[in-house]
Symmetry: D2
Subunit: 336 residues, 4 copies
Amino acid sequence: MIVVISDSATDAQVEQFVKNMEALGLSAKMIQGEAKRVFGLVGDTASLEAESLMRNDAIEKVMKVSAPYKLSGRSFHPEDTRLQLYKDGPYIGDGDFAVFAGPCSVESEEQILSIAQDVKRSGAAMLRGGAFKPRTSPYAFQGLGLDGLELLEIARQKTGLGIVTEIMGPEYLSVFEKDVDVIQVGARNMQNFSLLRELGRIGKPVLLKRGLSNTIDELLMAADYVLKDGKASVILCERGIRTFETATRNTLDISAVPVLKKRSHLPVIVDPSHGTGYWDLVYPMALAAVAAGADGLIIEVHNQPALALCDGQQSITPALFDGLMGRIVKLREALQ
Amino acid sequence: MIVVISDSATDAQVEQFVKNMEALGLSAKMIQGEAKRVFGLVGDTASLEAESLMRNDAIEKVMKVSAPYKLSGRSFHPEDTRLQLYKDGPYIGDGDFAVFAGPCSVESEEQILSIAQDVKRSGAAMLRGGAFKPRTSPYAFQGLGLDGLELLEIARQKTGLGIVTEIMGPEYLSVFEKDVDVIQVGARNMQNFSLLRELGRIGKPVLLKRGLSNTIDELLMAADYVLKDGKASVILCERGIRTFETATRNTLDISAVPVLKKRSHLPVIVDPSHGTGYWDLVYPMALAAVAAGADGLIIEVHNQPALALCDGQQSITPALFDGLMGRIVKLREALQ
Amino acid sequence: MIVVISDSATDAQVEQFVKNMEALGLSAKMIQGEAKRVFGLVGDTASLEAESLMRNDAIEKVMKVSAPYKLSGRSFHPEDTRLQLYKDGPYIGDGDFAVFAGPCSVESEEQILSIAQDVKRSGAAMLRGGAFKPRTSPYAFQGLGLDGLELLEIARQKTGLGIVTEIMGPEYLSVFEKDVDVIQVGARNMQNFSLLRELGRIGKPVLLKRGLSNTIDELLMAADYVLKDGKASVILCERGIRTFETATRNTLDISAVPVLKKRSHLPVIVDPSHGTGYWDLVYPMALAAVAAGADGLIIEVHNQPALALCDGQQSITPALFDGLMGRIVKLREALQ
Amino acid sequence: MIVVISDSATDAQVEQFVKNMEALGLSAKMIQGEAKRVFGLVGDTASLEAESLMRNDAIEKVMKVSAPYKLSGRSFHPEDTRLQLYKDGPYIGDGDFAVFAGPCSVESEEQILSIAQDVKRSGAAMLRGGAFKPRTSPYAFQGLGLDGLELLEIARQKTGLGIVTEIMGPEYLSVFEKDVDVIQVGARNMQNFSLLRELGRIGKPVLLKRGLSNTIDELLMAADYVLKDGKASVILCERGIRTFETATRNTLDISAVPVLKKRSHLPVIVDPSHGTGYWDLVYPMALAAVAAGADGLIIEVHNQPALALCDGQQSITPALFDGLMGRIVKLREALQ
């Protein structure tokens, strides 16, 4: 950590600062510049917050040098993580590419079975489907809840596809532990630290979506909450950030893919459905994500998008999904 | 709800759309423009999501006319809500002004007692203090937890000040129900719908902070989650939104105060400590919030900000707080 | 345009509103909803600003139905525009793909010639190079100015490549008209309307970069300023928007490509150099842009990036550029 | 400037870097940390861009220590600037408070005279009024142009109020130099560097509005462009930034006032009309700006807001303005 001393700081203040740092087990080494006095703090600065030092009037600026995350970072784990999604199931990461597809909400046995069979035939690695839905409005459809989980279980038994679905709070942890293969944490819960900690104790793979206004470094720190107990693995998911642009539901930050791949060893997937909010943007943005180096995709597929109980406008049909999967195979060959 | 038909839509598509709406119990009334066909949907459209209609190729645009929130809105409840903060305690709203002050984190009995006595003397209505801290990094100080709650309880007994502190998940609901007067939901949990629902069932006043990237309407919909059971009341809190500007920790959206006061009957307070991130901006921004019509403030006060275990850089000293409280009295007189 | 009447509006106010609209040559047709009175304005509403109506207390909401741009839109011109970049030169748009490459700044004859020959060999359609540089700081290198234009002219003569370079104000219009093939308007000048109007009168193709915080619709309205005189054509360029994320210089909005292609007939290119700010992100983001359907790219190439007088960190070497161009060919085949 | 070396850098690369810096007249002094090698660059680093160094693979991070602006900063000029707005006119800054008021657009002699007399009576220091209007759409009213300037001149003669109006390009510089007292640069032109340079040569006070997506430091660098020739002075204006929130036209960043006052000696004013976009938010936000320490305000006042040719929705009536001016006097007394 680098500390720049204020022009107005007295020598006594600077000496006191050096003593404070030593009391924390750090050593403060000075460089005397022509215009500025600057210190480098040497030692374990991980738990020292850059901003806390700023209250000291003698200090003008503080800059962290080390990355604020550890377990999800490449310095801790240089090689790509390759992760098996469920027992006897496919892998993701380190060259393995996986697509999670299915409806926004589970609506009925007929619906989920029909879509599951379709997406399996097209090559999806897992079935996604919402049982508990985080809705901005308390007056909107909130999902089928436990009944939805049961329908997903039926679809798993009939198709053999693993299940990924979103958890909204710790109250159903034991059910998810039993019935779900990959547990999804939605964008609104990316910094629900109490939930992240609990998930880390279970050990199932966690699909962690980037929050609407969270930076890439904050996503990696959230992943560290899950990884801390050493049991669980994490799949990172870019799903669009909130900006001033209203032509799309969010701004899908495709550049997050190469940035995350550079900083982290974890698999990175992209959600072009939530990331854009419009079904006709899903196809080009799915291809863009693949071209940028994503390890996978999560895509909303619905057999009757116009009648979907939620997010129909961003769902594609099984036929369009099938065409997209074929195109992705060609694209990945061209990128070899 | 207003629906604009695509130029390319066929008459058959339009007829089908009208039938679909009727099947939902809505009637679709047409205006034939020169350039565009437009329908107004009449009936209960609260649970119909504007975006869902967009999947229909025959539809170009959909616009909600009614506000997406109900219980927190003025049409439901035109008069300002005036709320007693705790038994025999002060009021907030409808002309009553209240300041919540105290340290970011509870650190020790000595610390919390000393600050509690200071802020009480200066006229604070409640003591704030963090026992469970939501920290971006898993490696930063996470608060004293239940021990912190006990220290707050001691401070309450010795000073008579009510207690406001943050809850991070449903696991401690019963403890908060017993020991805390106003339960704070932090910005990161504003859309933790499962927690909001639980809080609504308890019935204690909830201090609901606006999320970093949440709109004013989303804040009011989150308040509706709490209000839905009819037991709890809500205090809304503007605490800064995330923008591109890095000179401040967040951009404190002071204009949210008059906008919220116009749309909602609930008391509105401002947090100039988190909203700016720098102690020397707390004073001017607290005054700005009062001038804009806020019903109260929540301010971090620490007796030794330079040594605070978290967020010291945004805490003011008891002496500065005392000066601020005096200035606020004068300012409020000038605004009469 | 759709106008929603306030609940509190009197009948007299509504009648007055209808008369005001008729005085503007518009007719206001009413739909009586259960909860709301709504009017559709029929007639030429292009010059009527939605917001202006809002000052009327009788009006609660106003929503534009028609697109705010005309000449750049698909309703005016449904087919893709195919544009010849310069006399006897290559085309862009409607299936033709073109890459503009070269250094951020023209630095010397040796430098620009060497890079021009390299990028031509790799298949670039035009040479880009800055003579006048818009620099945030008045203390940074401002470009070689007219001397830089002369060096570009030499490079054109020796390589046959057309020239694209940025204009910063109307004072050099006559020089640019003579010496430059495609005139670039930078992000900071996207809404320099006085400059846009002048460029429309010249008639050379204009490469119009999206402003850092401009929406897609604002970009198309800016294009309309250039197109208004009917002489000039426009190439639209996505180059990143300003968001809260600091891991990249800007957030490159790849989804702007399919959105622009849907709304406009104009060719759309992407600038992965300014859009990311880091040379190692240029390669994956260039591929992502191609996969998303861009008609071309503009890329900073420098023979000695570490010594570049500006923006070296986002420039790639001629060798890396050559590899990228080969990969793009394969990618475009896979997308056929 | 602080430079952090990559973990993977070889000693030879580091030596080469030190030599490169010495070739630029800088000395690079090293601190050897436990985990990182860090250098401080000592010497004149003003023209060296932090990002340029980043192209060097041996470098991981670069951080500027000195402020990127000079002439507008407090280190160059510690005392507040007090500025006379026009010959024999009022002052702004260093305790003097000034309000600029008038219509968005000059529409007719009757309109501008009537408003000028009203705002003068209420205590405005200058008359504002747009002659050339920067409009996002080429189809919207663009202002009366030179005729508008003449009408402002008439209003000046009849009321004695100085005139502030916006310049959109260098083509009318000589007219503005003769007829306008304070020349306004709009938000969209804040980084029109070619215009800023020209204005610096004239020497009239420049009212420089912050761009929609520009940081505070960028505003101060833009001010430096104007101040560079030593002839002109600058008034800084916060007028709202672009964020995700749509309840207001922009998000008025009131905290920019104390931040600017801390970093710069220049007078700082606030525009609550453009900053919010709604006339009923102008009053509370004007008071908030005063409470936060602004040196003045610029406010849109229109005698018939509902009929205004532009921005009527954000204009207040002369009567409301008069009440606001009285309230501001009381507020400023309470802040003494």
